[in-house]
């Protein structure tokens, strides 16, 4: 087995009465990406802050690159790059000045810092804005620059806390490409997200966390098997058909169906694609159900939670600004 570049055992952290971390265990093998998936308030940011030496855990133990984060924070800091949930940039400095400052504070030689900063600006498509103060940047540009700051010293371990939350679809795609590049370069990466699709796409392994604890762990396909893969979803044109539609779908799916009455919608988890759609249409038709819309979609984080915990994710999973 490759060695764990990030390891957390039994981490606890409370803020007053809130148990942000309640016995969190994580490990990330060298050169892999772990996606930490959880709704708002699950403890993702707190976990990242403990692992990046920003706060001390109340109990438990964590190492990064084999070094204890509580006992030797300074040593850990030489080996990590962090892009937090909110970009940690100096608003009055230009993009280039931000990168140079961070590079020099990582103890890079000034010349090396400049070369790398220029290369990152090029790669992250910030060329036109490099000499403008960051306060003029869009959300996507800030996130890219923040990622640049995390990468400038080419540290072996990178932490990204919700790198795409709040980005528009285009910004999200370009961030995904940059992260996928990192993965190919052999960097060890821990990334948090609220989007199953994002974890599925980028991570080798996924840890689902809830109330400061890991509730499921495995590869994306393990997890999908556990939560029943894709969803077949239909919308009927009259609520009267809901009962019949439900019977048909349950016969085809791999679990109980889920009905949203107001929206005249029925959903069921399916394990295989092949022929399911045609069978569904045929059987709905012979049952006399009039269908407005039918199709497959990936399970949402809410559904993952429902399958794993038997209850919906407590806090709304929304886009933060």
């Amino acid at each position: 087995m490759t060695r764990a570049m990030i390891e957390a055992v039994g981490l606890h952290k409370s803020f007053g009465d809130t148990h942000a971390l309640a016995g969190l265990d994580l490990d990330v093998a060298e050169g892999t990406i772990l996606g930490v998936l959880g709704p708002n308030g699950a403890g993702k940011t707190t976990a990242v802050r403990v692992l990046t030496t920003l706060i001390r855990p109340d109990a438990g133990h964590a190492t990064v690159a084999g070094i204890d984060v509580v006992r030797q924070p300074a040593e850990v800091r030489t080996r990590i790059g962090v892009a937090g949930q909110y970009a940690a940039l100096d608003e009055l400095l230009t993009g280039l000045e931000n990168l140079l400052m961070v590079g020099r504070l990582y103890r890079l030689d000034s010349r090396v810092a400049r070369q790398r900063a220029m290369a990152l600006i090029e790669r992250f498509e910030l060329g036109d804005a490099a000499n403008r103060p960051v306060k003029t940047y869009s959300g996507g540009m800030r996130r890219r620059l923040d990622l640049g700051a995390a990468l400038i010293a080419e540290p072996p371990v990178i932490f990204l806390d919700e790198p795409t939350t709040g980005l528009d679809p285009k910004g999200r795609l370009s961030m995904w490409e940059l992260i996928a590049d990192l993965a190919r370069s052999g960097t060890t990466l821990l990334m948090t997200t609220q989007y199953l699709e994002e974890a599925d796409r980028l991570a080798d392994d996924i840890a689902v966390i809830d109330h400061g604890r890991v509730i499921a762990r495995g590869t994306a396909s393990d997890l999908k098997r556990q939560v029943g893969g894709e969803r077949l979803e239909i919308t009927v044109d009259n609520p009267a058909f809901l009962g019949a539609a439900r019977l048909v779908l349950e016969a085809l799916g791999s679990g109980p169906s889920h009905v949203i009455e107001d929206e005249r919608r029925v959903t069921v988890a399916v394990t295989a694609h092949d022929g399911v759609l045609t069978r569904a249409i045929r059987e709905l038709d012979s049952a006399g159900v009039h269908v407005d819309d039918i199709g497959f979609r990936r399970p949402t984080l809410d559904e993952v939670f429902l399958s794993l915990t038997g209850r919906p994710a407590e806090e709304t999973v929304g886009i933060e600004s």
């Binding site: 990046t52 030496t53 920003l54 706060i55 001390r56 300074a74 800091r77 030489t78 990590i80 962090v82 937090g84 909110y86 970009a87 940690a88 940039l89 100096d90 608003e91 009055l92 400095l93 000045e97 400052m101 961070v102 020099r104 504070l105 990582y106 103890r107 103060p133 700051a149």
Partner: protein
């Protein structure tokens, strides 16, 4: 490189950052440029004719008071600048970097020392234009400036402590005014303390601002340190010895929560 040279190079990096801030938002310098100029002009022109002080011209008497008042405000203003920084994400970035963590604070207080020096230079020039005559000579004048900067530097560290505790930088401004203003008025800044009621003069004569002002006044006008110089230095060093470790401790406590 050793720990000390890392600390030094990180501090220089932080000063560079603060200077870029000043370059991009010159308003950050108003408190050490425009305000003291106004004070010099208002006091010397408006009160100059009405207030009589023994032996010297009022403007020459006044300057030591204005110098120290401005330095005190500038020093405490450190708290506002630090509290502003703490509200933004940049401190998190610094704390995840393998830099000397105390350089964030030393960078701040040294930048504010530069601000104070600028303030003194401007006031000195404006003061000379309206009648300030530093007849004490060059070396005593330099010693006076050194003492003021030491006092300001010590107050900067009190500012670090305050800025690390307070959550709302705007609220700090009010507190600073409420504390520093009365202290400058109940001192020898604008009038000799002998003109105050006895009980007030008792306090005014013993509080550190009066001591620093009297020492600066004596050095710039007569060239002699005078009886206030030693207590003024002791007060400044005392403030520094207490507020520096306290400031570092409060800052660490705030940022590791």
């Amino acid at each position: 490189m050793s720990g000390v040279s890392w600390w030094l190079s990180d501090t220089v990096e932080m000063i560079r950052r603060n200077l870029i801030h000043i370059k991009r938002t010159p308003e950050l310098l108003l408190d050490v440029t425009l305000s003291p100029i106004m004070f010099v002009l208002l006091f010397s022109l408006v009160f100059g004719g009405a207030i009589d002080v023994p032996r010297v011209d009022y403007t020459s008497f006044l300057m030591a008071g204005i110098f120290v008042q401005t330095i005190a405000f500038a020093g405490i203003y450190t708290s506002v600048l630090l509290a502003n920084d703490l509200q933004k994400g940049m401190i998190d970035r610094f704390r995840s970097l393998p830099m000397s963590q105390s350089s964030v604070l030393t960078g701040r207080t040294f930048t504010d020392l530069l601000r104070a020096l600028l303030a003194v230079a401007i006031m000195w020039a404006v003061g000379m234009a309206v009648g300030f005559r530093p007849t004490g000579g060059l070396l005593p004048s330099i010693a006076a400036i050194g003492l003021m900067l030491l006092f300001g530097f010590a107050l900067s560290w009190i500012g670090v402590a305050a800025g690390s505790v307070v959550r709302a930088p705007e609220a700090l401004q009010g507190v600073i005014f409420a504390v520093v203003f009365p202290l400058t008025f109940v001192s020898s800044a604008f009038v000799p303390t002998a003109s105050m009621p006895d009980w007030l003069a008792w306090f005014a004569d013993r509080q550190p601002m009066t001591l620093v002002i009297d020492a600066v006044r004596s050095l710039t006008l007569t060239g002699e340190p005078g009886p206030a110089a030693i207590p003024a230095i002791l007060w400044s060093l005392g403030f520094l010895v207490v507020s520096l470790p306290l400031g570092v401790w409060l800052y660490n406590r705030r940022t590791t929560q």
